[in-house]
């Protein structure tokens, strides 16, 4: 049988859990933010989860939540992808992004923005293109004539772009008299006046041309490079705000319900949210119960029992008994018989009288040459020193009851063998003594008989 090995004792495990529990309470609840805008974690229609999946399937991707943490190798090739930033970049942030990719030998940009929030980035990287801040048309049709293919795309409230220098306009509005430019290709990359093309709702649509456009564009811009997908400018929302009514109604349909549920659950199960209220509740309950007289005593007793059980269960207990000592034993011959006689449990019977008679007969025969039943027995005993009356009485008594015991006579009709045999023993002892034997003395017949 294999020995059970305990790597971590239960006590240590419980102690660690308690420490972790206190730490979790102290640190506060973990907030899983909910995104409604262009963020890779947003599975909703306005999210970038589809784009993120596409990038991960085809390229080496780094999701950037903080540009401070971006560490790139020397002489790397990167493509920075910025889609519909919800907040404007500051000059410092733009400089930090430039600093993060400074070591790379090739840095290209894909900026898809209809808000103009990304203009500081364009400025920092020396782009000649700028994004307008107002959409002129809601759904313009745009013909894209790019080196990687030609497409006709319907955009969703894009911002027109403005450029000077050598930027090449590759996306121009069609079907209107004053067409706007919505896409410029330059040495730094591509500037696109609409982020909606990259959002989940477009990439999930049945019309696959958008998906093809995005895939082809990324393949053109990123040839054996690493894509840095910026997620720093998506606005996070507290899931509790949805319950507190702090969210505008038009935002609600844009939230992925599953993400919202997970976020809410992570918030609710955190001990900092339920432990203190629960403790307060229990405390109040106990305080209320202690006011009631019988319950007060019951609670004390219950606490006493629980504490006792806890303390005693920590220790394996056993009864304190002294060590067993050796019991010295001696084995005497016929010990069972002897014990029985000494306890008075052995009464004399007819057979015992017969045995006594035969014993006396045997000794008389072997010593004096006469049997106890012989007429000379009394005189032999008399000659050995026994009184005449006693000798005659003994011989007569023994023969009378021997005949009765062996069935040769029916007289006397009633015999109490126990008392009769005891009387016979007393009479016989005297006869045995004159023959040189004894039944009653410490040194008896054994040995000499044999």
């Amino acid at each position: 049988m294999r020995k059970k090995v305990t790597l971590v004792p239960l006590f240590t495990l419980i102690l660690l859990l308690i420490i972790g529990f206190i730490g979790a309470i102290e640190r506060g609840p973990l907030t899983l933010s909910v995104y409604v805008g262009a963020h890779p974690a947003n599975e909703g229609p306005m999210g970038l989860s589809e784009l993120y999946k596409m990038l991960r399937a085809n390229f080496s991707v780094i999701l950037v939540n903080s540009w401070k943490d971006v560490k790139l190798e020397e002489k790397c090739r990167v493509l920075i992808v910025i889609v519909s930033p919800e907040l404007p970049y500051t000059g410092e942030e733009a400089a930090r992004i430039a600093e993060a990719v400074r070591a790379c030998e090739e840095v290209r940009l894909l900026v898809a923005d209809e808000t103009g929030n990304a203009n500081p980035i364009l400025a920092e990287f020396g782009s000649e293109v700028r994004i307008g801040t107002n959409a002129l048309r809601e759904y313009p049709l745009v013909a894209v004539d790019a080196p990687w293919g030609s497409y006709v795309l319907l955009l969703d409230r894009p911002s027109p772009l403005f450029a000077h220098g050598n930027a090449e306009a590759i996306g121009i509005e069609i079907g209107v008299q004053d067409p706007q430019v919505y896409a410029f290709l330059e040495s730094r990359g591509l500037v696109w006046g609409d982020g909606s093309v990259f959002l989940n709702q477009v990439l999930r649509s049945e019309n696959s041309i958008y998906r093809e456009f995005v895939r082809d564009t990324l393949s053109y811009l990123c040839n054996n490079c690493t894509i840095l997908l910026d997620a720093t400018k998506a606005q996070a929302m507290n899931p509790l705000d949805f319950f507190h009514g702090n969210v505008s109604p038009e935002v609600v349909p844009l939230v992925d319900p599953f993400s919202l549920l997970i976020s809410l659950l992570s918030h609710i199960i955190h001990p900092s949210n339920w432990f203190f209220p629960l403790a307060r509740l229990v405390n109040a309950l106990v305080a209320d119960l202690l006011v009631v007289s019988p319950l007060r005593e019951l609670i004390i007793v219950a606490t006493f029992i629980v504490l006792s059980l806890f303390i005693s269960s920590r220790e394996s207990s056993e009864r304190d008994v002294p060590l067993r000592e050796v019991t010295e034993v001696h084995w005497y011959g016929y010990s069972a018989l002897k014990d029985k006689i000494m306890k008075g449990g052995s009464s004399l019977k007819k057979d015992d009288f017969v045995a006594l008679y035969e014993l006396l007969d045997y000794l008389l025969l072997s010593t004096a040459g006469v049997s106890l039943s012989s007429p000379e027995a009394a005189s032999v005993l008399q000659n050995r020193g026994m009184s005449s009356e006693k000798a005659k009485a003994l011989v007569e008594f023994m023969n009378k009851y021997y005949r009765r015991a062996t069935g040769k006579s029916l007289w006397p009709p009633v015999v109490f063998w126990n008392s009769t045999t005891r009387k016979a023993i007393s009479l016989t002892e005297e006869a045995l003594k004159v023959l040189g034997y004894s039944l009653m003395e410490a040194r008896g017949i054994e040995g000499r008989v044999l």
Partner: protein, 436 residues
């Protein structure tokens, strides 16, 4: 290295719990007392664990003095604590055979062993013949209040003690008085010896150096005759049945037999006769082959002091031999005629006789069997009437020995019933008769 709490610890734990509970609910301000009790329990537990670890690392030295039957057999355990943790207290209990009687000292004790100190524990037994295992000590640690108790462990090794049988000098001298010679080997057949036997008329061919000159001076030509010297080969066979241990302390058949054999062996050695001793234990035959002189005596004493009483007691039934003893003995016997002296009790007599029948019939041996009479020990404590009743009820059994004796004699074995007191004399008388 395990310590367990006792019922006293449980009582203290209950007290601590109660103190804390009543204080928590503002009944009595006894929380500190409860906490102090818990801390006290933790302290005792820590000490007990350390002391138990020290107990398991104790060094124990066992020594013994005296190994002669009937004398005190002293066994001393020197227990030393090489650690800095004092052991207070340790309960010690000596493991020894249940058939040994303690004559001095206690079989158990409660003591403390100081750090880097020693504890000496001695006991004395009334030594009885055979090989005995004494020890090891069993030890259990307890803290001073008996709140925690360690696991039971064994300290030290077993001391193997061999006790020699006591020899009666008086009996030895008595045996030499029975023998017709003070130490030289002789028979009653005339021959080339040193000791004078008688004179007879000269016949032609007699050596003139043996002419009895005093008779010649009176005109009669006679020669002296001397005892012919011879060596006897005596093999003692002791049947070790379970009933050999029946009887009072130092008065069992085994102990009587061991004393008789020891005296006989010395007698044989001083007479320069060949002797061998075999112990029949169940179907096992152990012993020493024919050896002469002092060496034979020493080997005999060693064999007797190596009888394991524990094995005898654990015999399932009183049985000797399984039909192989005679064959094994025949393979070891010398070509000369051998006197086989079998010493046994009634319980083993018939079986042993069956085994030795072949030897008696072979003509190479004279087989004597000496059955020890069952001694009615312990009758001293009975009243005269109880003694009489006891003897009447066991009389039939004594008579049955006579029947057994007759049966054994039919096999050609010269069997006699003897008491322990006259067994040695009866044996020597038989051997002297054999010499004639």
């Amino acid at each position: 290295m395990i310590t367990k709490s006792t019922e006293r610890a449980l009582a203290l734990a209950l007290f601590a719990s109660l103190s804390i509970a009543v204080d928590t609910f503002g009944l009595v301000p006894a929380g500190r007392l409860g906490l102090a009790t818990v801390l006290f329990l933790i302290f005792l537990k820590t000490y007990s664990t350390l002391a138990q670890a020290s107990l398991e690392g104790l060094r124990v030295k066992v020594s013994q003095e005296g190994a002669l039957e009937g004398r005190p057999l002293r066994v001393t355990f020197e227990i030393c604590n090489p650690f800095i943790i004092p052991i207070a207290f340790v309960e010690l209990s000596l493991r020894y055979p249940e058939y040994l009687k303690l004559s001095a000292g206690s079989p158990a004790l409660l003591g403390a062993i100081p750090p880097r100190g020693c504890l000496s524990y001695s006991v004395s037994f009334l030594a009885r013949v055979g090989e005995h295992e004494i020890g090891p000590l069993r030890a259990v640690f307890r803290d001073p209040l008996g709140i925690f108790r360690g696991t039971e462990i064994e300290l030290g090794e077993k001391a193997l003690v061999r006790v020699k049988p006591r020899e009666s000098e008086k009996l030895r001298r008595a045996l030499f008085s029975i023998s017709r010679s003070g130490g030289m080997l002789r028979t009653s057949r005339a021959g080339e010896g040193l000791e004078f036997l008688s004179t007879r008329e000269y016949v032609p061919g007699d050596d003139l150096r043996r002419v009895f000159w005093k008779a010649l001076a009176k005109g009669r030509l006679a020669v002296k005759e001397f005892d012919r010297e011879s060596t006897q080969y005596n093999l003692v066979l002791l049947a070790l049945g379970k009933d050999m241990l029946t009887g009072p302390y130092l008065q069992t058949p085994l102990e009587h037999a061991a004393r008789v054999i020891a005296v006989l062996s010395r007698y044989f050695a001083e007479k320069g006769e060949q002797q061998a001793l075999y112990l029949v234990n169940g179907d096992r035959l152990d012993g020493i082959k024919m050896v002469r002189g002092r060496k034979g005596y020493e080997l005999t004493i060693r064999a007797l002091s190596s009888v394991r009483l524990h094995d005898l007691l654990n015999q399932r039934e009183t049985s000797v031999g399984k039909g192989t003893i005679a064959r094994e003995l025949l393979m070891t016997l010398p070509r000369e005629r051998v006197n086989i002296i079998a010493i046994t009790t009634m319980g083993s007599a018939r079986q042993l006789a069956e085994e030795l029948k072949v030897l008696a019939e072979s003509g190479r041996c004279s087989v004597y069997m000496f059955l020890m009479v069952p001694q009615f020990y312990g009758v001293e404590t009975m009243s005269p009437m109880e003694r009489a009743i006891f003897r009447i009820k066991s009389f039939q059994e004594i008579l049955s020995m006579k029947d057994a004796l007759k049966e054994i004699r039919k096999t050609g074995i010269k069997a006699v019933i003897v008491t322990p007191g006259d067994m040695a004399r009866r044996i020597v008388m038989r051997l002297e008769m054999e010499r004639m």
